[in-house]
């Protein structure tokens, strides 16, 4: 099971929800549960690779190539996408007021998602499949002047 590392940046005040840290480097497995279930981990809010550590049974020394979703039950898998990333950020990195980050399955109104400096609407929004080295920015629109 391979790992994808993505640079995540928060701006426009959203960084306050994530420990007042703007830039995060996140490692996630390349295949994840299709229903965006986030496996529990300890310690919470860690930025170490997820790799389904706590749930994976030991692999047999010989045998078929293990299912990347093994240990995640009967769920369907999907390639790592922005929607999963959002759920992961909310479950693992967010430190306060989750309603200011997400609203249902997407970002709350007033937040723009940028994928490699492009509006996510041009990249398929939540369905965008993340590649290693991608840079995803979550930015809140500003109103002040």
């Amino acid at each position: 099971m391979s790992t994808i590392t993505v640079k995540v940046e928060f701006g426009g005040g959203l960084e306050l929800l994530f420990g007042n840290k703007r830039v995060h480097s996140i490692s996630l497995p390349s295949f994840v549960p299709a229903d965006n279930t986030i496996a529990p981990s300890s310690p919470p809010n860690s930025e170490t690779p997820l790799l389904a550590e706590s749930d994976d049974p030991p692999l047999p020394a010989n045998g078929p190539i293990p299912d990347p979703m093994k240990g995640l039950g009967e769920m369907k898998a999907k390639p790592l996408d922005v929607q999963y990333l959002m759920h992961y950020l909310r479950s693992r990195l967010l430190t306060e007021r989750p309603e200011l980050f997400m609203d249902g399955d997407t970002v709350r109104p007033g937040v723009l998602v940028l994928i490699n400096d492009t509006d996510w609407e041009l990249e398929g929004e939540g369905t965008y499949e993340i590649s290693d080295g991608d840079e995803i920015v979550f930015i809140s629109t500003l109103h002040g002047g």
């Binding site: 007033g110 940028l114 492009t118 109103h143 002047g145």
Partner: protein, 289 residues
């Protein structure tokens, strides 16, 4: 004494001296200066963003500048609103700003409006201008300005600043540029929105964004703009400080600028404060409802 307009019947001899440094630029020239002189721009909000924007619009020779602001100058403004002075505390910002830019350039026409922009007056107040600059400080007015710019078919040069960060975008640019509602169809909840008063603002951040707004307006008027709608993000304490974002095109489903045309009475029929989640204490104070 200036002998009056030269044979091009547009510029005075003194104008060649005043604007010479920009008229000799590639792609600008006499033609660009005449475009500026014949053009008009309205700056909504004479605060942190509006002050620098107004300075550079006036200095560049935009022929007619409108200033809309119903606030009065306060001591807490002077940390960033560089057209106002201690002597002007208590005076309407629109007058203070107008006086300041007339000192820079007496050759331009300046119109001041101290009315509060509202759904009932926005179309008529903004209609006379070629370019609209959003230098306001609250979400309801930003939606109202976007809807109005769409209805009037004018570009909206929008700036915003808060804390150490700034954002700049031209909405409703050309045939395909998105409006503010295309990007943000639903307004954020009021508790998600901070104001400069609550969250703070570094003065130079408003200066840089307001200055960029004047620059974009000058580029639009003179034809120097490439026509692409991009979002510029600025963070004074990040490295690199600037990031340019490619934005979506106009959204066919947008209630303001989509293919079906604007919803009937979208402006007159919208209570923008309610649309943005209802009154906030500071909006009350500012008389926005």
């Amino acid at each position: 004494m200036d002998p009056g307009p030269t044979e091009d019947r547009l510029l005075y001899t003194s104008d060649y001296l005043r604007y010479g440094r920009q008229m000799i630029l590639d792609g600008f020239g006499l033609e660009g200066q005449i475009k500026l002189q014949r053009s008009s721009a309205v700056v909504v909000g004479a605060g942190g963003l509006g002050c620098p924007a107004l300075q550079y619009l006036a200095a560049a020779g935009v022929g007619h500048i409108g200033i809309i602001d119903h606030d009065k100058v306060e001591l807490s403004n002077l940390q960033r609103q560089v057209l106002h002075s201690e002597q002007m505390i208590g005076k309407p910002k629109a007058y203070s700003a107008a006086e300041a830019i007339r000192r820079i350039n007496s050759g331009i026409q300046v119109t001041t409006l101290t009315e509060m922009l509202s759904p009932s007056n926005a179309l008529s107040l903004l209609q006379p201008y070629d370019v609209i600059l959003d230098c306001t400080d609250n979400a309801p007015t930003r939606y109202l300005l976007s809807d109005t710019a769409v209805r009037l078919g004018k570009p909206l040069v929008s700036g915003a600043a808060q804390k150490y960060e700034g954002q700049l975008c031209i909405y409703n640019l050309g045939q395909n540029g998105p409006c503010y509602r295309c990007i943000f169809p639903k307004p954020p909840a009021p508790q998600a929105v901070g104001t400069c008063e609550e969250t703070g603002i570094l003065g130079a951040v408003t200066g840089i964004i307001g200055n960029m707004q004047a620059l974009e307006a000058v580029k639009l008027i003179t034809g120097l703009h490439d026509g692409n709608a991009t979002l510029l993000l600025f963070s004074a304490i990040s490295s690199p400080p600037f990031r340019s974002i490619k934005l979506r095109a106009r959204q066919p489903t947008c209630p303001a600028c989509g293919q079906q045309g604007p919803k009937p009475h979208i402006i007159e029929g919208t209570d923008y404060v309610t649309f943005c989640g209802g009154a906030r204490p500071n909006w009350l104070e500012q008389g926005l409802i």
